[in-house]
Symmetry: C2
Subunit: 433 residues, 2 copies
């Protein structure tokens, strides 16, 4: 069998991408009815082969790292690209962990017997073929392949060009590992080129690919959404808000503000905006700003917050927040601060600025909290807890393939179950209508 990762995509890219999609689709029919044991055996086979080929993977990864250095990739990007022995071990661990998770396929979601005797069951089934578009981290190849496989989906992977050697070695490994298993080799396919044209054709294969999950920066995700004829599940960005109510426990509010901003500023569930009720602003802001300053966090405050802070801490250099700032995912040690007059104004602000990812209120006032929990239009809304908990592991999903700020199909952290759809099975005894 010719391994798809080896053929050169030079001419007829459209046909070749179409052929890959057809092969994945064919594999998906077989995969859909395999047992958990059959799928888990394939996962173990992949885990074993990663262990066995750790040295080859490191070698291939070195090629990417060398090319990356020559091409002037930033140290941060080179770090994401790197497959250390620990990261290879973590991939193995990840695959084995996915094998231990409950099989999401074949669950009876609900059932009823109609007055005419029809027995109607809504049963979870794989989506079919899932396309994963990602950037530099090569371990995404294995993470996504494992999650798709466990949920009975075929996957078509398209990684970033900077990780091409690493991804090719990983995809070849998966194909080799599947050879002796009941899972068809075409269940995991890598697009053997990082040509944009191939990506464009991939996004048009709506006959054979049923869902696209892009993982990466906002530019990549916008490109994919703009060009895809296949439904896309995504989040563009995480503009998360923390609202400190007039009846907040201010020590707790400060603690959450600091950890949710400064704990790991480069992630999507970190806060970007701190929204503060006027009544407690003068008490809350100065001490909070001290803690932020200590963590080297830049502050951009609206005019009212600015004047409070300048009075209280004349020595600090503070910026004035623009309207644009409140819409920005800084992914950095920068925090925008706004003062509001009321809970309703806070709700308006969060719904206006937020990207529908994660938003929180700190308050001891239960009705205010319940109003906030009901009125904020977001994937996850918190009361007296940090937005940083929006994560598949924290939610008990075992593992996650991404976080959705969309509304259809999946919202918030997406685990194995979100990689499934359902169908109705209807058992009759001769009903003709």
């Amino acid at each position: 069998m010719i391994k798809p990762i080896f053929f050169k995509m030079t001419e007829n890219i459209e046909n070749q991408v179409g052929e890959l999609a057809q092969r994945a689709r064919k594999a998906s029919f077989i995969l859909a009815t395999l047992s958990s044991d059959q799928k888990n055996a394939a996962l173990e086979s992949i885990a074993l082969l990663i262990e066995k080929r750790a040295d080859i993977l490191s070698e291939k990864n070195r090629l990417d790292l060398e090319a990356g250095s020559q091409n002037g990739l930033s140290p941060a990007l080179l770090d994401r690209l790197r497959l250390t022995p620990e990261r290879i071990a973590a991939m193995v661990e990840g695959v084995r962990q996915v094998a231990t998770l409950p099989d999401p396929v074949g669950q009876i979601i609900e059932s009823s017997v109609r007055p005419n005797g029809l027995d109607i069951r809504k049963v979870s089934v794989p989506i079919g073929v899932i396309g994963i578009i990602y950037e530099s981290r090569p371990n995404v190849t294995i993470d996504c392949a494992a999650l798709c496989l466990k949920s009975g989906n075929a996957s078509i992977l398209r990684g970033g060009k900077e990780a091409f050697h690493s991804n090719s070695a990983l995809a070849e490994l998966v194909q080799d590992a599947l050879r002796e298993t009941d899972v068809p080799q075409d269940a995991v396919l890598l697009i053997p080129t990082t040509d944009r044209e191939a990506l464009n054709h991939l996004l048009k294969q709506d006959e054979n690919i049923h869902c696209i999950i892009p993982r990466g920066g906002e530019a990549l995700i916008r490109f994919v959404t703009e060009h895809s004829r296949i439904p896309v599940i995504k989040h563009y960005k995480g503009v998360c808000n923390l609202y400190v109510d007039s009846k907040a426990d201010l020590d707790l509010a400060r603690k959450i503000a600091i950890t949710a901003k400064c704990g790991r500023p480069g992630v999507c569930n970190a806060i970007e905006n701190l929204i503060v009720h006027r009544e407690i602003a003068s008490e809350f802001l100065p001490k909070t700003i001290d803690a932020l300053a200590e963590a080297n966090c830049e502050v951009r405050a609206d005019s009212e917050a600015l004047s409070i802070l300048k009075d209280a801490r004349p020595s600090l250099t503070l910026g004035e927040a623009t309207e644009e700032d409140f819409h920005t995912e800084f992914l950095d040690l920068i925090l925008s601060i706004k003062i509001v007059d009321s809970l309703e104004d806070a709700i308006d602000a969060v719904n206006r600025y937020g990207s529908g990812h994660s938003d929180a209120i700190v308050t001891t006032d239960e009705p205010a909290a319940e109003r906030f929990l009901a009125a904020i239009d977001t994937s996850t809304v918190y009361w007296n807890a940090s937005t940083r908990f929006t994560d598949g592991f924290e939610f008990g999903l075992g593992s996650e393939i991404g976080i959705s700020t969309d509304r259809l199909h999946a919202r918030g952290p997406m685990g194995l179950r979100e990689l499934c759809t359902y169908k109705y099975q209807v058992r009759g005894n001769g009903q003709t209508k």
Copy 2:
């Protein structure tokens, strides 16, 4: 307040459509947290006003019918367009029935308390703003507005040009009915033109419209899917299959074949293909063909079925089925017949030809039935019952806004619940990570 249905969309169509979308979005925030009583009161207000304005509706409808006659619309199309007193009464009845359905919003879908004490609840919430694109039947205006309203969604309606006067009168009526209620008037907006350009702009409003549901012929749905930046839930067509297994009760199989094809051939859950196991073909086909002939149903058979039928019924005129026929939704009294060698061949044929709408097996062999139920990739798969039951009412959903052959979000009949998404509400007690 200026009624949006009256302003002329001449210049700046893009801005005007954008403004409508913003108004609907604003209304959706209010609508999302209204109580069931508030929404039901608004529905009753709509029902009352339809009763009161029945004469005006008939008058406006007459304008559409006259224009339709002049423009040479077919009698079938004119019939779909017509608002008879019975149909007006049925609209009223429909709205009141939606009011009696359980509120799909605010249901706790699942919940857990994590080891760190976080109380995580997955709660059903409205999607937000839903765009409905439909064709000639004006009652869709009211049906869809009522279902969206009950599920807490704002709706933007864009009907067909042949029903423009009727739809405008209905939309004006809804706006008037909402004035005295807690539901904002902008919760139901009609695009005040049937210009294609307005539709194109509508489909780009992904900031403020969250889901598009097209209802109509395949051409309309393909146009919408092709041009939409907003997720679309749809079914292109219903190519439904009936497979008669080697161990089928042949009387039952014949009965299902006839009713599922001839009962109402113009609907999407009628069968188009009859797939027959070779072992019983000689016994099953002749008697079935007699019944089909009696119902004036044209038959297109593959070569093997053709030779069986020609031997058994030399007097009948029969056509040979092309590969194309098996992919075709005839919406008419035409049936394609194919003979297969095995259950697995039948599964392949159904998965290849079907449009993922509804497919059935007739058999007394339980393992064969279970294999078919598991392996067919479709929205609804039946054992010993007709495909015609794929319908929101038959499924006990109360009412339906459409049927989806998509995989993401909703598959099969879509009721109120499918007009909802969910969000996570997380209640903490100071968790900072």
